[in-house]
Symmetry: C2
């Protein structure tokens, strides 16, 4: 029996109890045909890279694939964890090799170089064929990045039982490509600091679910952990400690580590709000610095925002952003722009003096500031990324190419689209991983999380990237991301608060419905998400339990109406 | 300046900005006098145990104390993490030794033997005196358990800066004792399994905040990980895997590990509900076993409850409970009793036949069952512990000594007290650590956590153990506990979901107000909780960040009205 899962059909209608269900893949491929024959991985299984001048990151990816295949040792998620597969395994053919080839006419570049191309021009599609008779499996693609995505899929097919690595799904044919070019995860490393090892582990986990954008919110009002050679005092005075700094070489390491895993790093230096800590180095540049009561001037302590009306501050900020951006491979750089609090400037003499002298409004001054900072980035070939307020709350002249992140509410995408900007869907009401952890502000025991409730994987999974948009606006949606703001997070709970939940949007933006197609189905998805969650744990990422293991071993037995 | 903090005074009134605040101790001692003189720990610091026939667990505790003193290396939670203390440190006297003595007339027993005595008879009080001139510090108590509590306090006084271990609070005099005898933490190891190393790490962390009861909800409907020699099939068929079992020697190890840390283990085998998995071994003993739809018969999948009306089941259960209880040192054993679902028995022929034959009501049958199981425990000198429904929802004859856990709502304590039973406060609306993580049942993306919202440490901290009770009922309150039900937890998030939140009730029940006294104060508490949280991380427990580190280093700067 061959089962074809397509985005154009609802999974639920296909998954009758008699069908061989596919619980193995996340995100589910665009096109998938599987059989019911057992196939084992030969002890001498090899990966044959039939690519000229093999790029070193592809070689590394192949070695990593071999490592996952050997070390995952994931027992199948059924009662007995594989004991029922014993008979099938004993009679299975052995797969000796997987051959990697590029389609004729493909240019041979590294995974890393493909990963940082402009969105929409990266080739991620691949075709994976695994015969049932043990003859050579093949993986073909138009780029090494496509091969990388295919290798990732390949590793998710295999289970372990008593020394044997096997699948029950052969023959397999997968023709796959992402629905959206931007599939991200956002992390704030300013509220609390994360050592490099936490970031690399996170990038690895991202790659397992084919996420391709790491949105690194690296600075904020609480700390400035980014070392900038032009402005060393920013980290000297603004990092929590000399140990809690990302040096320039750390950043380069993360960028190359990410790229080799198909991930582009979108760095954000949030401006002009969320900048209080800069006041510890440049007190003249920050208005309402650590002013009290903080709640009058900022959404969080400490208060403090750039004096964007002051020319010296405009020059400093443009110089800061462009000096950092020029060191990065990515074509994208975020200047932030959320939660600008105008109270901060009402009694700020430096700002008011400047506005009086020039006759400018605050809005006009922000426009000048934004054009200067964005202009500096555009001059370097970078595309600016901003939070939605820059488009919806302020009347600014932004370049058409600007990418806008929707975060306050999923309902705001329509207004951004109406203005013609490209959109990254990062709505707090679906995608904020920090929501629901309660109030963290002191002396407020009855306070709740502002974005209650907690976003379960399944709630996130119901997000529709195209909701409220017209068909002509659909192409504006680049994709989206789940994010972790870290007021109540640190290395201690990074894995457990992010995984496997951040896999929800990974599937939405890889596998989501095309216009007119059926939506994703939470009931179909859960057994697959359990599978990738258990696999993550096997690989050393502390992804949380989604249910009692009793449920994980019995797909659908714990559904609401089971 | 000597600052005296007493339960009878509000902390807030004492902590004027000019006062030397005490951010170091959790739970705050009953009586605390501190100075403002720096004192360092001599590199040759020793602990002199002037106790005859030193019990081995006290020797271990002393060695552990030395290890914490040397290895905590906690930088003080201020900007610069201790750099501002350099001058004071340079001029500090060195403390050479701490002398441990028992009060005259004390019996010398082990920590372990004291820790498992009946509640109310354990001696936990101690007096710790640390002079400012470097002369010998003294710790005195009526028992080795009291000395252990004092050692725990001693380790919390010290910070680390550039190779020096120091305090700024000398001279110090602490006279301390707990407000309540029962200070617990409850963990469910049945919904998901936790390896022994997770339990021992949890017990260690419990000891750091002077918790003294580990409520081990070891079995439930989803799995039976407890090896019972009389009934080996229960774990053989009911554990998630042969690796996910607590052997009898594992249980003994946990009991002795706990006792050596001043912790008594209250084991719970929940009956007659929460027992479905027993049906995999004894199908005749379980009604509505795995019946569908599960929601008709149980609060969670799978359905299944003991046929408590059937004499064979009564005998089995009494034998099971007593065969386990007899292996344990504790004087307490919980038979559970929550969430019994009567739908399960309506069409259960075995139950209905028995009721028809005997003319008994379901309530009468439950009374017979409970008297049999409790009788077997009482015959072994154990005190039964039950959930509140056994007292409030059913008309049962329970022995006067029975301890009742209030969980459904804090409001229910009054009704339990009215019936004259002793109370452990475990209210879900304050103390359930799993609340707020969203719906885990499958195919329910809009579902929320039944006990939303998430219980922050500060919300839990506002719990009043004596609320709604009359003065004559006060002595019925033994104490209380925070609990983790593990539908969405496992080893991956155990530390991060429990700590430091479970320290809230540790302070409530050690330091809480006496009748008529001032309540605990969340604003005063937060800097101390930050302190113990950072210390936990230094000791290898992944306690979460409560706030951005910016706030942790600036006590009160992130309070609501700061």
């Amino acid at each position: 029996m061959v089962l074809s899962l397509s985005r154009l059909l609802s999974f639920a209608t296909l998954l009758s109890p008699s069908a061989q269900t596919v619980w193995a893949l996340w995100p589910i491929p665009a096109s998938l045909e599987t059989g019911t024959t057992a196939l084992m991985l030969s002890p001498s299984f090899s990966i044959d890279v039939a690519v000229p001048n093999i790029p070193s990151d592809l070689l590394q990816a192949v070695a990593q694939t071999q490592s996952y295949l050997q070390n995952d040792k994931l027992g199948r998620l059924v009662v007995g964890r594989g004991v029922s597969d014993s008979y099938a395994i004993q009679n299975a053919e052995a797969l000796l090799s997987l051959k990697l080839t590029l389609m004729e006419g493909s240019q041979v570049g590294s995974i890393s170089s493909e990963a940082v191309k402009p969105l929409g021009t990266r080739s991620e599609e691949y075709t994976l064929v695994i015969p049932q008779d043990g003859s050579q499996a093949t993986l073909t693609a138009n780029s090494t990045l496509g091969l990388y995505r295919g290798l990732t899929t390949f590793t998710q097919l295999w289970y372990y039982y008593e020394g044997v690595i096997y699948t029950l799904l052969s023959p397999i044919k997968i023709v796959d490509e992402p629905a959206y070019p931007y599939r991200g995860f956002g992390l704030d490393t300013a509220r609390n600091y994360f050592p490099i090892a936490d970031l690399t582990r996170t990038l690895e986990a991202m790659s397992w679910v084919k996420l391709n954008m790491f949105h690194w919110h690296i600075t904020d009002s609480q700390s400035f952990p980014l070392q900038v050679s032009l402005y060393p005092e920013l980290a000297n005075n603004g990092a929590y400690s000399p140990q809690e700094v990302y040096t320039e070489s750390d950043v380069q390491y993360i960028v190359s580590y990410a790229a080799a895993r198909g991930i582009d790093v979108l760095l954000e230096i949030d401006t002009p709000g969320h900048t209080a800590i800069i006041g510890t180095s440049y007190p003249d540049y920050i208005a309402c610095f650590d002013a009290s009561p903080w709640a009058t001037y900022a959404n969080e302590p400490p208060a403090g925002q750039l004096r964007f009306a002051v020319p010296e501050v405009v020059n400093f900020t443009a110089s800061l952003l462009s000096s950092v951006a020029q060191t990065l491979m990515s074509k994208y750089f975020s200047t932030g722009g959320d939660e600008l609090n105008t109270n901060c400037y009402v009694n700020d003499s430096a700002t008011q003096q400047q506005l009086n002298q020039t006759g400018m409004t605050l809005n006009a001054a922000l426009d000048t500031f934004t054009q200067a900072t964005h202009g500096a980035l555009i001059a370097q070939g970078k595309t600016p990324v901003v939070w939605e307020e820059m488009v919806l709350n302020w009347n600014l002249t932004l370049s058409n190419g600007t990418v806008v992140m929707v975060w306050i509410s999923s309902a705001d995408a329509a207004a951004v689209a109406k203005k013609g900007f490209r959109i990254v869907q990062a709505p707090s009401n679906y995608f904020y991983l920090d929501c629901g952890a309660g109030e963290w502000i002191g002396d407020d025991p009855t306070g709740n999380s502002w974005c209650d409730p907690f976003k379960t994987w399944s709630e996130s999974y119901t997000f529709d990237p195209l909701a409220n948009l017209t068909e002509t606006q659909y192409p504006l949606v680049l994709g989206g991301e789940q994010l972790l703001w870290t007021e109540q997070s640190g290395p201690q709970n990074l894995d457990s608060i992010v995984w496997p939940r951040a896999a929800s949007s990974a599937e939405i933006f890889w596998s989501a419905k095309q216009p007119g197609g059926a939506p994703l189905n939470v009931s179909e998805a859960l057994p697959r998400l359990q599978d990738i969650r258990y696999r993550m744990v096997q690989r050393g990422v502390n992804a949380i339990q989604l249910q009692p293991q009793w449920c994980a071993l019995r797909p659908h037995a714990c559904d609401l109406n089971a």
